[in-house]
Symmetry: none
Subunit: 401 residues, 2 copies
Amino acid sequence: MTEHELVRELAEKNGSKIVMLVADGLGGLPMEPHGRTELETANTPNLDRLAGRGTSGLSVPVLPGITPGSGPGHLGLFGYDPLAFKIGRGALEATGIGFELGPHDVAARGNFCTLDSAGLISDRRAGRIPSEESFKVVERLQAVNIPGVETFVKPVKEHRFVVVFRGQGLDGGVADTDPQATGVTPLDPTPVTPAAQRTADIAKEFVRQARTILADEKKANGMVLRGFAAKPQLPSYLDLYGLRAAAIAVYPMYKGLAQLVGMTLVGKAQSLDEQIDELAKCWNDYDFFFLHFKYTDSTGEDGAFEQKVKRIEELDRAIPRIEKLGPDVLIVTGDHSTPSKLKSHSWHPVPTLLVADTCRPDGLEKFSERECLRGGFGQFPAKHLMLLAMAHALRFGKYGA
Amino acid sequence: MTEHELVRELAEKNGSKIVMLVADGLGGLPMEPHGRTELETANTPNLDRLAGRGTSGLSVPVLPGITPGSGPGHLGLFGYDPLAFKIGRGALEATGIGFELGPHDVAARGNFCTLDSAGLISDRRAGRIPSEESFKVVERLQAVNIPGVETFVKPVKEHRFVVVFRGQGLDGGVADTDPQATGVTPLDPTPVTPAAQRTADIAKEFVRQARTILADEKKANGMVLRGFAAKPQLPSYLDLYGLRAAAIAVYPMYKGLAQLVGMTLVGKAQSLDEQIDELAKCWNDYDFFFLHFKYTDSTGEDGAFEQKVKRIEELDRAIPRIEKLGPDVLIVTGDHSTPSKLKSHSWHPVPTLLVADTCRPDGLEKFSERECLRGGFGQFPAKHLMLLAMAHALRFGKYGA
């Protein structure tokens, strides 16, 4: 019996509310040996108080030593084994710009490139064309017309864009067209599985029409396509857990990830305070609330230790407003670590805290990497966090008699 | 290589003795935040002394957040993955009343119900008929006679009974006949797999004869059947571990679970003291001894915190008599937690202690949930406990050269 089969069998409904507050890239490192991490440096009276009342631990996003991107990081927290459920690169890129993929879509990442008069790639990034120029090029591509499919072309940033084909019988099994070199032509889209023949033909036709339309462009007169992928098949929160789930996020990527598991996007909050306003407003309409806080990650990526500390303190100050709503289960965690010292995502386990009346005390008095190491959840796979959330919300029946 | 294949490959025989003392529902919770659990409250000088000498940890019965019934809880402790080896409800009910299922049996749970003159269910529990009345009705059903199979009908409690069909080619794949409503007729037994056609026919004939026999009953003149199941296919202790295993339990459910893995039921003890008398008596005849202590669970289920504390203290006082027999490995654990606060089984990890001369000290001075969190076994799946038992009994060879 798989874990998801078990979840489906045991899930029950009641009126309980679960809040999962994800501080992106929460975990950190000291800048110097024997120093303190960002979380250990921050003044976090509210999180510390919650640690005293709840149960803490360290969540391992994928496996020890494995650094996740945002996709696998969040899939784990949502209870989907990130090694079993994969979001293809094209699908993730589309998701990241807020494009809601449908069940009949195949998305690919596109890079504009510069082709010389012989059709050979002379610049693989089209001179790193600025976004505003690139957006105009993307606009011209709206003229592409392929019978039998709808085609969406969306800008991302600089030379990057996304193309989505929508139609019956499409398949993500198409090879990248990027030859990873200059002085050669882009590759033709070719199927890697027989089922993708039609999709490869459509992609080829897309490239053909685009070449004609962009023939007069100086920089962006060609393109390569990569990471063809359909929308991943993820059971929804409602289907799996019986939870009506709301996502209250600011950035498109996290909204998109939440949508992939069937969460409803709520509000248009631009700050944590506004996110909690939205939370209060929709409190009666949902059972589960995913709140995403981006800035613990972005400050870490910038290597801005002190800024990350301040962002953690901002998060801490928001806690009492969430508590006042009276969630039955309140979780504070991250999708991965982003130590300022490394200026990037990392594999280090993520401090995680769960507060509910059913918590067994673990004697912690502070929320930090060091303390969580002694927490009652120990170190656990992120994909098990939702099992604990459901249990503490008393939403699981007994397994076997 | 599966874990069981590994066990079979490595298991060796020697004269060592393993005692596994299972305090049912041992783990608990404080009644108030920052309070103490039942085990932390109890005065347990013997268990604490053992914790100082052995290695402790917290066993996770199934998965984090998953609350097991007695079946999966014990299967885990016995070393059978409770998600891979399942005991069907009918088989568990038969087991629970001490009916020893054979390899050609299919068992189902029965509920007497009241049918009106049109054959529609008017009371799904036959007026919650008292056990003594129900037992007489069950007695009348002994007259059922179905060619080609033996039929056993056994009372459980109130309106509940068990029916077991014994014969060649039976299969548990028969749908429940309970329509879960009044004002309708019971459903006919129907096969959910083609292999169960004959079993469904037999069940139908059983119901037909029962209706005739019980036609004059005022309350229990009908029945519904649920949870059809054959005996689960579990490798025996002797086959798997090479252990001659004895079960010394008071209650039928635990005797039955032990029998499912091929343990021999020893004695007719009615108290822990008598169980240890039996243990001493059969000491030379077996290698492994499963002792089951029920009352830590039943007091927890009653929400009787103080009573559970007293039962734990009773358990503690029994320890020196067991030690005197000189087991090479002595394990104290539970099949799950039953916090008085929740008045039910729970998912919380279970305090577990193993004492052997080969233990690596972990610095604990007390046996409790909080201490076990810092124990040498950490948090571990219950199904791995038998691996540790075998290892510390020096009954495993080396894996690979």
